[in-house]
Symmetry: C2
Amino acid sequence: MRYELYYWASIQGRGEFVRLALEEAGASYVDVARTDGGEARMVALLDGDTNACPPFAPPFLKAGNRLIGQTANILLFLGERHDLAPKREAGRLWTHQLQLTLADLVVEVHDTHHPIASSLYYEDQRREAKRRTADFVTNRLPKYIGYFERVLARNPRGTAYLVGGRLTYADLSLFQVVAGLHYAFPNAMARVARRYRHVMALHARVAARPRIAAYLASERRLPFNQQGIFRHYAELDR
Amino acid sequence: MRYELYYWASIQGRGEFVRLALEEAGASYVDVARTDGGEARMVALLDGDTNACPPFAPPFLKAGNRLIGQTANILLFLGERHDLAPKREAGRLWTHQLQLTLADLVVEVHDTHHPIASSLYYEDQRREAKRRTADFVTNRLPKYIGYFERVLARNPRGTAYLVGGRLTYADLSLFQVVAGLHYAFPNAMARVARRYRHVMALHARVAARPRIAAYLASERRLPFNQQGIFRHYAELDR
């Protein structure tokens, strides 16, 4: 079966967490919105009135005749299908718990540059973005990254992965978040990197996995840019 | 087995979504932080270095020797245990997808009064709160509630519940969100209620369920207040 991934064509965004799982799994998929007429098909699925299980927003994944939305939910599905999460309930839920915490962090990163409204330009909320980012960098970023550092440090199976002794989709997502934070806040991240050596080592370990390395070197991996979740504004990265 | 729920003692907050599921299930649980010394025990579990699976923040649920965090993840667990979600994978994931969309809405509701930083008082971000709330009420609230209205309208099993023909934890959570929105934005909700009759009917239907009605009438149900997620500031509810 070939999956169909639906996500905005020009950014990594939340779709990237799904892409990384599909790539690591070696799954066959088409990135629909990047094909001819694909973005229109995506919008039609969002707005159409024929689907009994409509997604609220991209990304969503078509798997056979099923349409699955919400990034963490898609990963829950792919994790079971492609051995990217433990089989047993306790490990499966723990992996998902970590993913949901990463999802919370992603919302906060987005809101550093859009604290007032997604529907407004950054330029229309610059002053508020400066205030929000100052709090994010000072308080929230260390709280989140410190948390994942602690999870790695306490893992009874070693510090290589978040859950047990094998890679899960949560590791892929933590890789992506760290990559995005390095892009958005290079100064802030340079200051804290030494404090979070397990997290930074995990980022490097994931990047070096053969399928992920091949993906990152491919044209399928879009560069970070100023339309995505992770954006670099020098004035926000003191 | 008696569950232990850990959440801040003085607010409904995110803990309420878990409480509603426990109450509807008729499950035995203790609301730890509301007992003598309970909040200190909660903080000890959060900050302690002995737990290999530390939660990032309340709420979390102790089930036997397991500690499960993240509201939607706890509900995923309770849904399977207490028949508050379909057994089959497709229905289970669809229920969870709806819950995650509700969770996104809850973040946005919180940020109406705290758009800059949770660590600051409302009074220190009033101007920004006005801007953010204006966008929320105009754009985001109708988008979210309209979405759930559509999901109910399209349910092949009828408009009584979000998923299939039976109550799930997502219905309980939608009830709670609507209740909170009525508290926080009575004017805005009065204006839109007629447009979303399936959602409003679901809210009433859940409130009338025997166990939920008994819970809502009990002292265990705290009133909404100005420390929670749903807050009423007259100046924000035009």
